[in-house]
Symmetry: C2
Subunit: 340 residues, 2 copies
Amino acid sequence: MATSRYIALTEIPQGLPRQDQFTLREQSLDPLAEGEVRVRNLWLSVDPYMRGRMSGVTTYVEPYALDAPMDGGAVGEVVASRDQRFASGDLVRHMAGWRDVAQLSADRVEPLPQHEVPPQAYLGVLGMPGMTAWTGLNRIAQMQPGERVLVSAASGAVGSLAVQLALAAGCQVVGVAGSDAKCEWLEGLGAKAVNYRGKDVEALTQALAEAAPEGIDVYYENVGGPLLDAALANLRDHARIAVCGLIDRYNDAQAGDGPRNLNRLLFRKARMEGFIVAEHWAHYPTFLAEVAPRVAAGEVRYRETVVEGLERTPEAFLKLFSGDNEGKMLVRLDASAADV
Amino acid sequence: MATSRYIALTEIPQGLPRQDQFTLREQSLDPLAEGEVRVRNLWLSVDPYMRGRMSGVTTYVEPYALDAPMDGGAVGEVVASRDQRFASGDLVRHMAGWRDVAQLSADRVEPLPQHEVPPQAYLGVLGMPGMTAWTGLNRIAQMQPGERVLVSAASGAVGSLAVQLALAAGCQVVGVAGSDAKCEWLEGLGAKAVNYRGKDVEALTQALAEAAPEGIDVYYENVGGPLLDAALANLRDHARIAVCGLIDRYNDAQAGDGPRNLNRLLFRKARMEGFIVAEHWAHYPTFLAEVAPRVAAGEVRYRETVVEGLERTPEAFLKLFSGDNEGKMLVRLDASAADV
């Protein structure tokens, strides 16, 4: 009988989750039902938004149930199909991640698009993170050519594409990251870079003013905290802040102080808007048509941090919050290990 | 020679301004030049936004110069004109307030619109405050019939019109005010009312949840502070916050804490946008056509707090921050006292 090994959350974490709050379990799979497919996962995605799903309460997505298989983006290969749309060997993307073998309705599986890119790109630069960058800049902030764009977490999976999309649109771009190496990489892309480490609100405000002396039209907000205060202090008239995430807060058991200068929204007639990429997914084909050929042609740079093995998925997830990863964090599974 | 008595600011206030930081002065007026009009002011407007102009720095409007005539909305009667568009006896509106006699270019003066309302209504319900309420609800928050609308400072000049416009649009309205009498008045309009006095963020959050159990689609934000936290906690998906003012902060020498739960913007895919009514003034005729007939017909209720005499203008201004006024704060001038 086929089995699936999966990661389950065993306890609702307070603050930064601990590895011992995750466990590796195994379950037998029922025989494949009509309309289902079985997928051997090759790549799992771990993403910051998953922290919100570990809180036991509904934020914008359902919370993870304790002691049950977690889920998230994954790319894999169909190994058995009882749906005419899929055959063994097809590469697919779906949300039944955090496990080695997924068995699910074919309605919840999509074939990988056909571009000359590695399959895991559809979990990163051409997947949810990439679509998130594109949506925030274009559909939320309505970025215009020549504007001054600030991106936080700028060397991350989302931020690094936001930086490059803004540069490609002819914008002046400032990227904020947490190490000299990351800043150097950003400057190699053509952005100005600010290292936030060791800077309080005042120092960040000053650093942004130096990097963008004319101020900021668009802030692609991944972070929150002191950087949001500093960005607010540097807004231009009619600026737009696309709030993609506030990773600074994801692990806070108690809410911290909010920005002290929210009155800048008023003075600058500015807008701040939260968005969830899932609501914009109807535009994914537009995004893909625009960005995939550029990725395939090597015109878009993206990086991956790869952790090997299902059992290390929690470790990969936790690395998202240490700032040690570069670009998209992925887990690669050993295809030969799965019992399909 | 004609003279003008005016109020000047003598010192940049820290925190709540003091009366001794204002002074009454007098200046002689030059002979009327070609293209100018002389206006005997009958009504002066004092408004919360003027506090921002007393800070010595540019926010969204130029700061008041020290020892010079202050300005602001005023309604008066033309007493001399060297412009063919105006004749003695015409009632006009202009921005050379805080003085009894204004002499200025006719380009900066507009005739009062012709509706059956008292002239001072064009400084309140049919003037900048009214237009501010209408703009925030319609042009910023895109209020839709049947939505749930929260209005802070709901018994004030702006808020009370916002409440009535929202009710007239078929919305469910919750108004927040600072006394039982104000709350009773709001309930008389058909809104639910919440008295914010003595309530911390948690109690306000609970009170709003009781008043609007389905949550809030539109928040007309005049206040900031704990009420903003409470409103954020009660947002519905795709809510819009129109930031008209943050009066809670106008007199703070140091910025206070911001909202601790700004992540609700993200969870709720919500938008928060500051606006300045001056940028929307091209739509004033639309506002007037919609609202003036209803004011003239007595269908819109509005209140005025009237202080008598130019020398009491600073006192009237300061009352804006004590919460003692009801509706629009105005200064009425004794027409016979002016030396025109």
